[in-house]
């Protein structure tokens, strides 16, 4: 199916449209954070510590006297950038591994896919925690930790697509004129696997945002004072009795961002795989 057709049908899917606009809103927040946020996210006003929502601070103030609205806005920048990078890394590496495994088959396939099984056997959050704890919580290591679990999923999709295509005539034709194997895989076969990969990448964005926040909540994510939703929530958890507002807004941001990508991913899935489509 061409992308134009997919887009046209997607526009008719209510959930997908809502998801799309939520994502746009977060992207705008991330890009224009310095202009939208009313305060510097790290500016401390200790006298205002734990103040509830007011006109001056619509989302209230956290323990260190920082404006929560500004931190939520800046937090979208951190979450989105890290998630996009993690998903890109996983897509490229996973697709490459899966395509090679599917195309060559035999022992190469067996070894690569069994290695992928190993990564899938450890619950994603534990794997991420172990990697970050060992390597340290830098942004690069966070991306590595989050993509570690997504790589096998992309490789399975790419492998499946290559297996479905590799015996078709156009591949045989390309082989017969002496095209290089890598050219055949990446130029001829993989474009056919693009729709399922795009669906997976969209859903993975949701999972990555959730993982980054989860690691932050455990104290292993983006380190303070950088504004990050999960890290801010774990601070708020300590003062829940006195300042409930601090535990609400960063979580709402995670929830909405994750929901946006889930809605869009689901919508894409329904449009591209019509068997699931029954609305």
């Amino acid at each position: 199916m061409e992308w134009k057709k997919i887009w046209k049908r997607l526009k008719k899917n209510r959930f997908a449209v809502v998801g799309f606009w939520i994502i746009i809103a977060f992207i705008v927040m991330a890009i224009f954070a310095p202009y939208i946020a009313p305060y510097d996210p790290n500016e401390q006003d200790l006298l205002a510590s734990l103040q509830g929502p007011s006109l001056a601070h619509p989302f209230g103030v956290d323990y260190f006297g920082r404006d929560i609205l500004s931190r939520v806005i800046w937090g979208s920048r951190v979450s989105l950038t890290l998630s996009v990078e993690a998903v890109l890394l996983a897509t490229v590496v996973g697709t490459f591994i899966g395509a090679i495994a599917g195309y060559y088959g035999g022992a190469i396939d067996e070894v690569l896919m069994r290695t992928m099984d190993v990564f899938l056997a450890i619950p994603s959050i534990l794997l991420a925690v172990a990697i970050v704890a060992v390597l340290g919580p830098s942004n690069f290591n966070l991306i590595l930790a989050i993509s570690a679990y997504a790589v096998p999923q992309f490789s399975r999709i790419a492998r499946g697509a290559v297996l479905a295509e590799k015996n078709k005539e156009y591949v045989e034709a390309a082989k017969s004129v002496g095209e290089n194997s890598l050219v055949i895989i990446f130029k001829y076969i993989l474009p056919n696997a693009l729709p399922p990969i795009v669906i997976q990448a969209t859903l993975r964005m949701a999972a990555s945002i959730m993982s980054i926040a989860g690691l932050g909540f455990l104290g292993l994510g983006v380190q303070p004072p950088t504004p990050e939703w999960g890290t801010d929530l774990s601070l708020a958890r300590t003062y829940l009795e006195i300042a409930p507002h601090a535990g609400i807004f960063p979580g709402l941001a995670i929830f909405l961002a994750v929901m946006g990508f889930n809605f869009l991913g689901d919508g894409l899935n329904e449009v591209i795989n019509p068997t699931l489509k029954d609305r």
């Binding site: 958890r237 829940l240 709402l252």
Partner: protein, 307 residues
């Protein structure tokens, strides 16, 4: 089919060796000398050397790995920090996690299947839309945030349930509701999708044309046919929960295995992390395999296709 099952069981061996090697290698990359961590900063070089010998820290990687595996299988393996046999600490934690996971999954099944069936029975109506929106909310809900919201409402405001710990029946209510609600979404969506498909099948139309009441057709004939795929997704979620409930366990201070492992990672207790993750992964793959085998036995298409 027997052949297929045996192959799947045998494949567990390389997977588990892979998991143990992976986690063993990751833990070797930890910065800092574990012997110094055990002995304390001001220990004499002799003490440190002795600890290094005791934990085989100077041996080559593969020797360390072999010794570790042997000790794990004989159950002698000890925590580096507490010096206690690991299984003695780990098993009660694992039981706690199992308890939480079981209650949560029961909640998720009851909510999920009910909502899914209702949505399918009222397909494309406002009821369907509300139910499916709720399911999607559940799927997108960060467990630790839902946990915080439930604490705010039921512990801080209403004071009905404790905010954390594990004492008595009340303490499991909030953590299991938290997990149950987030899992409910997956089950509800799966149930709805399957039910919608089944309800268009000929045998359902036939049953209806015989004049059987709609309610009976839906609950007795259609639901029976969608239980297998639903069991699969439940099995996968349950396997995941055995190690993946770390976040919920942290929010509620639930003394489960996930938190035990994460605490050990912070304390650099190699042995506990390795044994814990290997155990969690083992249960995860076993549950997955069990679900797959069940699927093969129950679904005649797969059974016939492979024999």
């Amino acid at each position: 089919m027997t052949k297929l099952i045996i192959r799947r069981i045998l494949l567990l061996i390389p997977t588990m060796i892979g998991v143990s090697l992976l986690i063993f290698s990751i833990m070797r990359l930890l910065p800092g000398d574990p012997a110094v961590l055990v002995a304390g900063e001001d220990a004499t070089p002799e003490t440190i050397a002795q600890i290094r010998r005791e934990f085989h820290l100077d041996d080559p990687f593969i020797v360390q790995y072999a010794i570790f595996m042997e000790k794990m299988f004989t159950g002698e393996i000890k925590s580096i920090k507490t010096k206690q046999p690991i299984f003695k600490e780990l098993i009660p934690r694992f039981e706690n996690t199992l308890e939480l996971a079981t209650v949560s999954i029961v909640i998720a099944i009851i909510l999920g299947i009910t909502l899914g069936v209702i949505a399918a029975a009222h397909r494309n109506s406002w009821i369907d839309n509300i139910v499916m929106a709720t399911a999607l909310f559940g799927v997108s809900m960060p467990v630790f945030w839902l946990g915080i919201l439930l604490i705010l409402l039921f512990s801080v405001q209403l004071r009905w349930f404790p905010a954390g710990g594990k004492e008595g029946f009340e303490s499991i209510v909030l953590p299991s509701l938290t997990i149950g609600f987030t899992l409910m979404g997956y089950i509800a969506r799966m149930t709805r999708a399957m039910m919608v498909e089944v309800l268009t099948k000929d045998f359902i139309k036939t049953a209806r044309s015989y004049g059987l009441p709609r309610r009976m057709v839906i609950y007795k004939y259609a639901l029976k046919n969608v239980l297998i795929p639903i069991i699969t997704i439940i099995g996968l979620q349950f396997g995941y929960l055995l190690g993946g409930a770390v976040l919920t366990e942290s929010v509620f201070g639930w003394p489960g295995i996930g938190r035990y492992i994460v605490d050990a990672i912070f304390m650099r207790d190699y042995n506990v992390v390795q044994v814990g993750i290997i155990l969690v992964a083992f249960f995860f793959v076993i549950v997955n395999l069990g679900v797959d085998i069940l699927y093969m036995i129950v679904d005649p298409r797969i059974r016939r296709g492979s024999s």
